[in-house]
Amino acid sequence: MSATTSAEYIKHHLTNLTYGKFPEGHEHAGHWGFAHNAQDAASFGFWSINVDSMLFSVALGVLFLGLFRLVAKAATADVPGGWQNFVEWIVEFIDDSVRGSFSGKNALVAPLALTIFVWIFLMNLMDLIPVDWLPWVAGLLGVGHLKVVPSTDPNITFGLSLTVFALVLYYSVKMKGVGGFVGELTLMPFQSNNKLVQILFIPVNFLLETVTLISKPVSLSLRLFGNMYAGEMIFILIALMYGGGLVLGTFGGLLQLGWAIFHILIITLQAFIFMTLTIVYLDMASQEHH
């Protein structure tokens, strides 16, 4: 750990390993490379990538699909083994949730919900690994920054929620038609029998409904991001105590244990909320009548 002051330590932990093209005015101008600090990362603009977030996110996704694929391949209707039992338990739980919240018939929703739940849970789970371990290993390998919890990266959470949003828009138009969808956006919630008043209501309705619509993906991703980011921040602050002597360090150890145990609840809950809201949004999008 090369950071010296608390502020630097915290900043170090909150900086992604970003790969991009250095802009004009930089000493490496025009070259592609890893950002050395947060300013570098910001200067890359949009066309750069958080390698650590992507790496962990893809690795965890592959882990999830690999472990579940194992069961899917060997799935038997006889007495299930231990791992199959566990996977079936999760699958049934998701299936129940989808049946409870989604009224239509759609082959996509349940696998989507399963992917969201398990993947987000695994990404959140990275939060329970002590904050210095993986960055320390990365430091030994010569990598300067490493953020191991993908869900503390808004790019990741927005990547998920915007995809869900795209699905919401797709099913809204598919199930209600363009006219129905536009009507839903403009003719509600204010309605009038008087044609003129109704026309006057249209911009107001449109404004309200658009805000409602946009708030779905934004709240979805910011909720997850905010919870995970705050949780991570607390872990980092607790980790700071280890540098404060034996007493403070022991106290920090207890705090970390307590927060980690509590955090197990939060990471599961956040994964569940993301999944449930996705199902609910898709359900609302798929319903013909509001």
Binding site: T18, G20, A41, A42, F44, G45, F46, W47, S48, I49, N50, S53, M54, S57, V58, G61, F64, L65, F68, R69, V71, A72, K73, A75, T76, A77, D78, P80, V87, E88, V91, E92, D95, A107, L108, A110, P111, L112, L114, T115, W119, D153, P154, N155, I156, F158, G159, L160, L162, T163
Partner: protein
Amino acid sequence: MNFNATLIGQSITFVVFVWFCMKFVWPPIMAALTERKAKIAAGLAAADRGKHEQELAEKKAAETLHQAKQQAAEIIARAEKRAAEIVEEAKNDAVVEGNRVKAAAQAEIEQEVNRARESLRGQVVELATAGAGRILKRELDATANDELIKDLVARI
């Protein structure tokens, strides 16, 4: 909090993962679950059927037992009746036989008696004849005659 292409990368990854899950993970697991449900339902139905059949069998067994008991009771009653009849018959037979034996015995006794009487009669005649002979012989001896008759009477 700066947005960059990670957003797009994550979205693409997400779509690929969901596609994979929808294609290769969800359906086989659900199929196995559905199949197991059907299996369990069939098993439960079979168990129910078995139970029902067992009940029927028990009922049948009880009925059979009841019938057997009834039959046994009937047979016993019949046997007792028959036994009584046999005893009665035997009694009758015995009486008849006894009567027959008695009659035969009586007949024999009568015969014996007759025979004895005949022989007695013969002896009496003989005696009488002998007596008469002696009397005739000792006609002259009156005293001897008296003794002789006394002796004869005592012998009879």
